[in-house]
Symmetry: C2
Subunit: 564 residues, 2 copies
Amino acid sequence: MSALTHSEITALLLALGLLLASARILGEAARRFSLPAVLGEILAGILWGPTIFGSLAPTWRAYLFPTHGGGALAFDGLMTLAITLFLLVAGLEVDLSTIWRQGKTAVNVGLAGIAVPFSVGFVAAWYFPVMMGWETGADPLIFALFMATALSISALPVIAKTLMDLNIYRSDLGMLVIAAAVFNDLVGWIIFAVILGMLGSGGGSLGIGQTITLTLVFALGMLTLGRWVIHRILPWVQAHTSWPGGVLGFALSLTLVSAAFTEWIGIHAIFGAFLAGAALGDSEHLRERTRATIDQFVSFIFAPLFFASIGLKVDFLAHFDPVLVVTVLVIACLGKVLGCGLAGRFSGLARREAWALGFGMNARGVMEIILGMLALKYGMIGERLFVALVFMALATSLMSGPMLQQLLRLKKSRRFTDYLNARTFINPLSGHTRFGAISEMAAVAAQVAGLEESEIRDAALLRESLMPTGIGRGMAVPHARLKGLSSPLVVVGLAPGGIDFDSPDGFPAQIIFLILTPLQDDGVQLEILADIATTFKVKEIREKAGCVTNCTEFLALIRSGCEL
Amino acid sequence: MSALTHSEITALLLALGLLLASARILGEAARRFSLPAVLGEILAGILWGPTIFGSLAPTWRAYLFPTHGGGALAFDGLMTLAITLFLLVAGLEVDLSTIWRQGKTAVNVGLAGIAVPFSVGFVAAWYFPVMMGWETGADPLIFALFMATALSISALPVIAKTLMDLNIYRSDLGMLVIAAAVFNDLVGWIIFAVILGMLGSGGGSLGIGQTITLTLVFALGMLTLGRWVIHRILPWVQAHTSWPGGVLGFALSLTLVSAAFTEWIGIHAIFGAFLAGAALGDSEHLRERTRATIDQFVSFIFAPLFFASIGLKVDFLAHFDPVLVVTVLVIACLGKVLGCGLAGRFSGLARREAWALGFGMNARGVMEIILGMLALKYGMIGERLFVALVFMALATSLMSGPMLQQLLRLKKSRRFTDYLNARTFINPLSGHTRFGAISEMAAVAAQVAGLEESEIRDAALLRESLMPTGIGRGMAVPHARLKGLSSPLVVVGLAPGGIDFDSPDGFPAQIIFLILTPLQDDGVQLEILADIATTFKVKEIREKAGCVTNCTEFLALIRSGCEL
């Protein structure tokens, strides 16, 4: 019986642990700079892969990340499972009814968002294959079709995330972008499935005609009949099995079997997982908590491992071809932004909105990388083009948010915790009066901001004298706009004994926020006040915030909600 | 580069999907008969394994569950990961401080719970090896030590689950059982780790002395210094990384690295995962929701797959030896029940409580099976004894709950949904008065129970005339005890328009429960009333219960909490 050896198990577990830790750490670091986490995750793989670690310590690399033998096969199996589950999550996010609600415009934009980049990509790759990174030996038609598809696919998860970050996910334009992207994704992946079928990549026993027919029948069946059946079965599962084990088991086994089926018909397993996710996610009977459990475990464990494993595969330095990278990037942006933007204009959108639509749809993100990896695996493309595609995917995702922000003149929502740190957290306040508390907090703020203590104190007290800042529920928010302050500053002080801030509800304040903003504050003062009010609306958070010992615990409480 | 072939991927995904689905279905079926889910999960594996499916369709079995080649290695890697994560969850449930709170009695019982069965097992296996299932060729000392350990280990997860089901988890006796079991588990697994080290099973480069030293140092270090460091790091992770990705990534990578370390020192990976879980779970900074996400994904996805894979390995029919099964079972029960029971008596427990303690600790459950599987893998025991150990583990777990119930004269808590079905769910009620509603529900009850409609209606109306049963918040609970009714019956009627039941809060009732119980009702009427009050205390559940269309949706709502 084949089993992993002791040494292979040790290496596999250690590799997974190190890869996960570094992918999560670099993913968090990327987010700190407002970059997508996937950038850090791929970077973690590049660090451990042939590019860096492999050239510094080849023996260790061969031990931890073997390319042959049992350990390599087990790792490959795990990564196949990881990407399958990731596509399940991507599918769960698809909301089919959005397409119908947005109607004709969405379909127009979605179609143009595929047709234009597809044509541009096909023409470029067919007439100038070498410029587009074609490698001798690859089938030129398959290559051109692949490039056409690669340039026309969008990345629903990245787009959804960008829109949510900008707070326009639920706006008309946001819903239009999502609807067009859903349509785009479905059509794009079906085209890719057909190309994979043409390639006969699977080496299965089915002919290309059968593969294409089965693909279309399965996709349509899953999104109509399958969806209907799942919607009927889900309440029954939830009523008669243990919660949430029944529905988790149902969702996962359906995904695995569906993935196995698409792998069998000659297209990749991820296609079945994506369709299963789309059919499952569309049912309103699927509870939020079930989605969250699947989403969290997959997005934070399996996805980082998978994206790090991409960096492991290829030497990104050796295969970096700057001309090819720029060519692919320019053609990708041209086709998508022009296609979607013009379709938006023709459908009656304003100029800025139409271009925002184009740049929104332009984000390729992780989907492009998955596509590229499959193409690399099946020999459609070489490593040089793969590296270029990864760069293109990351660059288009990176530019999407800022371009939308610029075009729609949006501001990212700001939280009061952005302006708080360990130095501006005082626990407990030594003063027992309003004056004492404000003075103590002003002194701390003066040190951090490099201003005069008296200036801050007097400004806050002046504001306080106009109208008391106790807002009830044990909180007070003294504030002031200050000349010479370069960026906003929040000081938090805890007063377990309570300090009278003349609240409307008569209770003394136990959590006091001193909010200091520049004279031209761009609305940030109001945003901070609103954020504090929203955050502390929950009673448990208020109660537990009074019991923390330091700033880290305070921030941990705000981040992780009301559980302690 | 080694990678799985198209056919291996198809088979792997299909096998995982089928195995998961059948393990979950049979697990649910087992629960329906108040049996542990793990019984059904192992049975699912037996069905797909050599015992049944393998002898009916050997070609298909070889395709789906290959024993050699890439697919087998990938499956083995996945199952190693599954069992590692399962031990993480088991470790998370350990509450180290419980041991200290229960003090000397817990340590006494825990020690006796190891020492007595260990001695009994060692003596039996040393002097009567053949009777105990020793196979020619195995080292007799290692065999005796293994049997001694196998008989002395408990199964914390099963014990905790049993106590929770009986509602005595938080009682003094419950906490004592848990504390003793935690102590027992820690010591038992350390002994097993030492035996594995003696075996040199890993084939690592370390000598036995080094392995034992490293094991003890690592275990102590993880439970003291490691625990302290984790407790300090967790708030920082939660404050400065994305929620809950940061803490999930931290917990999982710690577990994987810790598992790799114990695998490397020559004991099994699960040992490191268990210790990492114990150290992590002990910190109050680990949020409930994080525990729940890990627990749900592992308990309902990885654990069923792993336990099913046990059934896959061995032909349970061919290796079933009834004499050996009974011998192992009797010796196992004797040692554990006597050891713990007597220690309990000496520590001053009453007779019934002492024996309840013994039978509580007697549950071996999944831990025994994991132990047996490792012993089988490393050649300490043969398949005959493995089968006997699995039976012993299941039998001791099965008898634990009923014995506790018997000895402590407990009743399982009963829910109103136990007595409700699609036939006794009326939506909407056609009557608009109290009399009309009760009559309509009585008619349905009469059909189901085979009683006279008038008898039921009159009894309920008589009770109603004594004091109205509107309990406010839009609910009413007319009820009656009936001669000739064999088991309780609950009829639910929805009245969207509201029916006046003279509630204290003046609101008409929109959800009406007719509760019928036998004359000698054993307190079930009160339990049902209390359960209804508790369940519908949450406003969202009340509101959503009024909008369901059928009984399945109603039950799904109750089961899955307040999310729709």
